[in-house]
């Protein structure tokens, strides 16, 4: 399989890296980019990410085999609205949103009876950098991509999107959108909330300069994700609100158990809690 014409809407790290990976794999002949910032799009052409670009989304998707929407979650519905009127039946649309149920709801509302052409996806990849300058062709090598296909999708269309990601080096899984949202809330969204909250918590203390000065390597690793883009994370929280709240609740209950054990000087309970965590972490993350 291969793609004659790929349209990337939102040419940043995620969109740009897919374009580079597919070009390198010889899987895609022509990549057109679309977005709101002409200067950045022109730069992406210079960088060899795009073959050409346009600010007109309708023009961009015309004749495309696949449209990859890699914009922030908060901008997803607006993009869908711009491309829906010109979407011809042979074009498939997929996305890179970190939350899936809210994107599916937007897509259902906007695409209506063209919803079969939309295959929701989420590449679990990224770096702390952003922008097309940060894009590189091996970003998706050995990384997971989750597709959350809809009942309306033809299996052959799901396979087309799956093959595209595999050509970029990714391992593709399928699951329901609600399940995706809970899994990601646990492994990504909740940890980000904890890191942001920890830094804000210390930052509100007296002698804050001194407190951070004595932070060791473990603290730096632990809070690295608190350096993430605030706009992106605001959007993720609001888009995956329900699952994030479920996980925060579960976490607060777990913290209450640890706190009670400390309050009660319960050495055995603390040892059990910490050694369970160590075993699980060592088993799954090695």
């Amino acid at each position: 399989m291969s793609i004659d014409r790929l349209c990337v809407i939102g040419v940043g790290l995620i969109g740009g890296s897919l374009a580079l990976a597919l070009k390198k794999a010889g899987y895609c002949k022509h990549v057109v980019g679309a977005g709101r910032n002409e200067q950045r799009l022109a730069h992406a052409v210079e960088l060899g990410i795009l073959d050409d670009y346009t600010l007109d989304y309708a023009q961009a998707v015309t004749g495309a085999d696949v449209v990859f929407v890699a914009v922030p979650l908060g901008a997803m519905a607006e993009v869908f609205e711009k491309i829906e009127p010109v979407l011809s039946p042979q074009t498939l649309v997929t996305d890179a949103g970190s939350a899936k149920h809210s994107v599916v709801e937007d897509a259902m509302r906007v695409f209506g009876d063209k919803i079969n052409q939309f295959i929701p996806g989420h590449p679990i990849a990224g770096t702390e950098k952003s922008g097309a300058e940060a894009a590189f062709d091996s970003l998706y090598q050995e990384r997971r991509v989750i597709l959350t296909p809809l009942e309306e999708n033809a299996q052959s269309d799901v396979e087309t999107i799956k093959s595209m990601w595999q050509a970029a080096g990714a391992i593709v899984d399928e699951m329901g959108d609600r399940h995706h949202d809970l899994v990601l809330a646990g492994t990504s969204h909740l940890p980000h909330m904890l890191a942001f909250a920890l830094v804000d918590c210390l930052n509100s203390m007296e002698d804050v300069d001194e407190i951070f000065r004595f932070a060791a390597g473990g603290f730096r690793d632990f809070t690295r994700i608190a350096s993430s883009d605030p706009t992106m994370w605001r959007d993720i929280c609001l888009s995956n609100r329900e699952a994030v709240l479920v996980m925060m609740e579960r976490f607060q209950n777990e913290m209450a158990i640890v706190k009670t054990a400390i309050e009660n000087n319960d050495a055995n309970a603390l040892y059990a809690l910490f050694s369970q965590a160590k075993s699980a972490r060592d088993e799954f993350c090695m």
Copy 2:
């Protein structure tokens, strides 16, 4: 300045690395080790960490200029009790405990009118490894060591311990023990509680294998400290109970603010919380 005879009680990563650093710096002529496991002590001699060793703590401290107690917090009082009867006036004792107020309380009780000879300390250094095999001479290079001197300490004795750490490459700060405990509760002990609780929280969910499978690089960094030694962390929680509980309470309040903002779909509040955290983290950890 220099040390003729250093006694290290507890020859693991922390104790072994100090011995290696001081030998390399030519700051210390003779290092004697003491501990409970003869095989490990003999191995530390083979590794060039120790010049000799004994299982008899009284014999080990006799004639020592400085005794470095680098045992787990839970074993500190027992070591103090063993060495106090043979402690001659020219010997200084210091330690490596991650909590300071509880160690000072133990020391006051055990050392009595010899308390002036005890200078409490905490090197903020370590790796995820432990044991004398993991020791290396540059562990303390550019790392912080906090001393929490007592009113009873002579300034010249504090300077002796300070010079020793500087010879090992460390940057030495002084502060009160209670203040140390709160600073470390915030930058080290609370983050460990969050990492342990997060892994336990996910580990208790259904489909736990799948959940960890989709964890990306950020999760690995974030939970690395959940691989730490459960015994050590049980001891730290209990030894620094008061400050850890204060920080857990503060953190829970911060999390409640984030949770309320998500519940209320308050985009502005979330953006403000996340961007404050990002700014603070980027400023202090770069």
